[in-house]
Every structure is written in structure tokens, then in C-alpha cells.
């Protein structure tokens, strides 16, 4: 039988605030254990949490960027559970009145072009980190307790691992472009839960779903979907029923296992958080944030194609991150040559970044420096091949292009007199080629130009050389 996969995602994203959601503790990643806690995030008695303004702002921006309706009135609630990652024994979250709801994000790929519904986006706090590999206990590091999160919940609108990955990537890019989150996946800033069920193709009823928790890479997202799909089909074809359960993905082994045995009745007994007052947003505030949202990558891709005649592939490569895209735009602003700027960034610069395992933020030179170099090429001060030497030196030292050209003596010879001297010498040294050329052997000119370039260490302007040879036959 042919099956259809039905996927919904829950995405947890750490917001890029300096301080925690309800207290002034730092959110910095990787600090020494339990050095970023205080009575509020440790849940000590008698404390009063106060909501971070930036959290409301970022959650609203995320909602607007994903075409959500922003709630005029929302509130925080307590979700009660006992687990040592939460010293309060509850998580402050949003239950019935989330800050954003009913949005959509469109995705495109091979064989699909569709909208994925966003059910809701709500604000909540992250939990602490548990270390299980200690001998006979579990250790809790509470630095992460109270780091602000948004949870993005989708409709069950995805039908393949590919769709889920494309959607997740688009959400990541959106959150990065709007600077709501740094989305550093290796630091757990973006985590996915997959709700998956299968049904006979053509059926409109949903099958029983399972939930795969805490996937923190696109690769494990896709792999776990493939694995869980296979598992469910196998179960059904054996005549078994799918049990609604939470499963954990083991990325090393490439399999998932049930957490059922440890699962107790989920009864979170949500109730309104008495320590926090409701959030009321005015239209004016929402409009201001809406106006502040930068141009999103897919809009940029269109603009690069229409305004600057770039190919779709190039436009997509350039807009993969906001930093890369901003770098490109500033380069173009300086040199007014989008095609050449694109070529240098996608080609030479990306190669240099790959070689040194760095990203665009690590580049020592400015977009203006690259723009300047492109200008120097266009003005024929240096040749394109010398440009490669220049950008490499810029990349290594951060020095200005004109400085490098001057220091290394790389500027192209545009001095007709100097070129002419070399040309005449080369012609005198190679009478046979000159003779061949005179007899109509056009190929011979290539040899002569080559000799001149060699003698001038690549600095002679090849067009001038051609010209001078012809004039002196």
C-alpha cells in the first residue's frame, strides 16, 4: 500500500536577548556551571518575576514575519511538572492566549509549492541542563533556566522529510534575518520536535501520531522522519497499532526509542501565572515593529534577479545568511557592479572562507574594500587574475587593496611607453613569430602577447599589448 506522511513541527527557539526572561541574569552560552542564576530563576520563595521587554518585542516580530495575527491581549500561564531541570517545578509559558496565532509560511522545492500553517507562537522559559553521566546522580546546571524561548507550532501540513527541512530552514532564516535569534544550532538555540503519523494515500483521516523530541540539526530532523516513517509502516503492515507516545532520537545509532515507560499521565494543570500581569499590545506598537522588519531573504532573491539580473542560484547563495547578503549589498553600493561582486563573493571569498573554516563575520576586510578592488579591476589598474592575489592578501591581513597593490607592485601597466618597450623587445627576440603574424597566422599574436605578459609579470594590460603589436608590425 502507498502511504502518505503527515508532519507537524514544534520549534523551540532561544531569543537573542542579553538577559533572561524574568530576571537580569545573563543568557551567555558556555559559562561555568551555575554562575548565571539568581533567586528568581532558581525559583526561591518570595521572588517576583518581571517580563523582559525585548521578549515581547522579539516574539511579536517573529509572529509578524510569519504572517501571524498578533494578540491584542495575551497572558502567561504556569505549566506544572516535576523534573529536576526546572527548580520551580513549573514552566512559565502561554496556554490559551498565545501572543501570536494563525500565521503561514510558504515553502518551495522539487514537487511542492505550498503554505505551512502556523498554529501559534508563544513565549516561554527554557529549562536547565541536566548532566546524566555522573556516577549515581543527576547534576543540574541552571544557567539556562529562564532563557527566553518562543515555541512555534505548525499545522500538520508537511508531507515529506524534504518539506519539513525546507520549512525549518526557512523559519531559521526568518529568525536570523529579523535578528530575533542567533539560531546557533550547535548551542541548542533552535530545536525541533516532530509530530508524525502515516495514513493510506488518499485518506483524509489522520493516523495516530508520535512525537520525536529535541532534534537539533536539519540532518537529524530529516533522518528521524525517514526512520519513524519506516517504523510506523512496518508496525501497521505487521497488523499492529501505532501507540501515541514520545520518542527519543539517537543520532549516533540512527534509531529512535520509546520514552513510554517513563511517561506518566501528562496533566500539566495550567493556570494563569499570578505573578505576571497580562500583555496588552496596541496597534501602533505592532505597526512600528511591522515597519522595522527587514527585507526577508526570498524577497531579496526576487530583487537580485529582477534589479540586478543575477541567476536564481546566485541570488539564493548570496541570501543564505543576512550577513552574507548585507556584505554583498554594501559591496555593490560601493562599486555599482552586482554581477562582478556576486562572482567574487560566491567564488573567491567563499573559497577562502571554506579553506579557513570561517564565516562571513570573520572577514577582516570591509565590503567597501572588496568594492574598491572590483573598481580597480574595472578601471584596469589590476587584472582579474591579480585580483585573486589581492583578495587573498586582504583576507589574510585585512589590509586595503590599494595598499596591497602598491606594496606588492601589482598594478597593471597602463603606461603605453613602458609597455611599448617590452613589446618591441619581445618582437625583436621572436622574429619568426612576427614573420608568421605578418603572413596572416593570427595564432602567433597569442604567443607574443603571452611573452609580453610574462616579461611584465602579468601587469601589462593585454588589450594594449595586442594593440601595440599590431601597430608595430
Amino acid at each position: 500500500m502507498e502511504y502518505e506522511i503527515v508532519i507537524g513541527l514544534e520549534i523551540h527557539c532561544e531569543l537573542d536577548t542579553k538577559s533572561k526572561i524574568f530576571c537580569g541574569c545573563s543568557t551567555k552560552f558556555g559559562s561555568a556551571v551555575n554562575t548565571q542564576t539568581c533567586p528568581v530563576c532558581l525559583g526561591l520563595p518570595g521572588v517576583l518575576p518581571v517580563l523582559n521587554k525585548k521578549v515581547v518585542q522579539y516574539a511579536t516580530i517573529a509572529g509578524l514575519a510569519m504572517n501571524c495575527e498578533i494578540a491584542e491581549f495575551s497572558k502567561m500561564d504556569r505549566k506544572n511538572y516535576f523534573y529536576p531541570d526546572s527548580p520551580k517545578a513549573y514552566q512559565v509559558s502561554q496556554f490559551d492566549l498565545p501572543i501570536c496565532k494563525e500565521g503561514k509560511v510558504s515553502i518551495q522545492g522539487e514537487g511542492f509549492n505550498k503554505d505551512i500553517g502556523i498554529t501559534r507562537i508563544h513565549i516561554e522559559e527554557d529549562a536547565g541542563k541536566l548532566i546524566h553521566d555522573a556516577g549515581h546522580g543527576t547534576l543540574a546546571d541552571n544557567n539556562r533556566c529562564g532563557v527566553p524561548l518562543i515555541e512555534i507550532v505548525t499545522e500538520p501540513d508537511m508531507r515529506s522529510a524534504e518539506e519539513a527541512r525546507v520549512f525549518a530552514e526557512k523559519v531559521k532564516t526568518t529568525l536570523e534575518y529579523t535578528q530575533v535569534s542567533d539560531c546557533k544550532m550547535q548551542e541548542g538555540s533552535l530545536r525541533f520536535d516532530v509530530n508524525l503519523s502515516i495514513r493510506p494515500k488518499g485518506s483524509s483521516e489522520y493516523g495516530t501520531r508520535t512525537e520525536m523530541k529535541n532534534l537539533n540539526s536539519f540532518r537529524s530532523l530529516e533522518r528521524s522522519i525517514h526512520s519513524e516513517t519506516k517504523r510506523q509502516i512496518k508496525e501497521i503492515e505487521k497488523g499492529n497499532r501505532i501507540i501515541q507516545e514520545t520518542r527519543k532520537w539517537d543520532d549516533d545509532k540512527g534509531i529512535s526509542f520509546s520514552l513510554r515507560s517513563k511517561e506518566e499521565a501528562h496533566d500539566y494543570r495550567y493556570f494563569p501565572e499570578p505573578d505576571l500581569v497580562p500583555i496588552v499590545l496596541e496597534d501602533k506598537y505592532i505597526q512600528q515593529l511591522k515597519d522595522s522588519i527587514p527585507e526577508l531573504p526570498w524577497v531579496r532573491v526576487q530583487r537580485y534577479m529582477e534589479q540586478w539580473n543575477l541567476t536564481q542560484t546566485d541570488a539564493q547563495t548570496l541570501t543564505a545568511t543576512k550577513q552574507m547578503s548585507d556584505f554583498f549589498e554594501k559591496t555593490v553600493e560601493y562599486c555599482d557592479d552586482p554581477k562582478t561582486s556576486s562572482n567574487w563573493i560566491i567564488g573567491e571569498l567563499s573559497a577562502l572562507l571554506n579553506e579557513s573554516d570561517a564565516d562571513i563575520n570573520d572577514v577582516k576586510f570591509s565590503p567597501q574594500d572588496l568594492g574598491k578592488m572590483i573598481k580597480l579591476i574595472n578601471e584596469k589598474t589590476i587584472s582579474g587574475s591579480v585580483g585573486k592575489t589581492v583578495i587573498k592578501a586582504m583576507f589574510e591581513t585585512g589590509d586595503k587593496p590599494d595598499q596591497i597593490i602598491k606594496e606588492k607592485g601589482l598594478s597593471q601597466m597602463n603606461d603605453e611607453g613602458a609597455i611599448k618597450d617590452i613589446v618591441l623587445k619581445v618582437m625583436a627576440d621572436n622574429p619568426q613569430s612576427v614573420e608568421d603574424l605578418k603572413n596572416g597566422k593570427e595564432k602567433a599574436i597569442g604567443f607574443l602577447v603571452g611573452q609580453v605578459m610574462k616579461a611584465s609579470k602579468g601587469k601589462a594590460n593585454p588589450q594594449s599589448v595586442n594593440q601595440i603589436i599590431k601597430e608595430n608590425l
Partner: protein, 95 residues
């Protein structure tokens, strides 16, 4: 609204409380009384009343995103019954 003993066991379990049979009987009666008392509220017509999210008529109490000093680790851990390697130590849980 009459609660069953099973209801009380369930609620106690969620709160990690354990009671003997006599206690369960007492709490069953007491909780039933409380619910009956709260039931009175249902006599009111609330058709045109907004649900109360908070008892105070205040909204948007927010703080600026500014980092303030945290507790020293020793201080944070000083009431922990058990600690190890700078962490709070609890009986082993497997996630």
C-alpha cells in the same frame, strides 16, 4: 460535586503526595466541600463577563533587557541538600 477516592489519589499523585486510607477519606470530603462551595459561582450569569486573567487591573509590567549581577555559585548552591562539581545533585533521572 462528589469526588471519588480515585480522583484524590490522582491529584495527590500529580503533587507527589502519598496518603493512607484514612487521610484519603478526609481529603475526599474536604475537597468535595471546597468544590461545592466554588460551585456557587455557577449560579451567576457570566454571559457578558470577560474571563479574569489577573486580579490586578494592570497590564504590561516590563523590564529593560539589562544584565544584572548573578549570585555567586557558592551562594546559589548553599541550600542544596546535595551538590557535585558546582551543580545541584539529585537522584538519578534518565531522560
Amino acid at each position: 460535586m462528589k469526588l471519588s477516592i480515585e480522583d484524590v489519589v490522582y491529584v495527590a499523585d500529580l503533587a507527589r503526595l502519598e496518603f493512607n486510607d484514612d487521610e484519603l477519606k478526609i481529603y475526599c470530603e474536604q475537597l468535595t466541600n471546597i468544590l461545592d462551595y466554588a460551585e456557587k459561582l455557577n449560579e451567576l450569569d457570566t454571559t457578558n463577563t470577560q474571563p479574569t486573567a489577573h486580579v490586578l487591573p494592570i497590564n504590561n509590567v516590563l523590564r529593560e533587557d539589562i544584565v544584572l549581577p548573578s549570585l555567586d555559585r557558592e551562594k546559589a548552591l548553599q541550600n542544596a541538600p546535595s551538590q557535585e562539581n558546582g551543580c545541584f545533585k539529585v537522584p538519578k533521572v534518565i531522560d
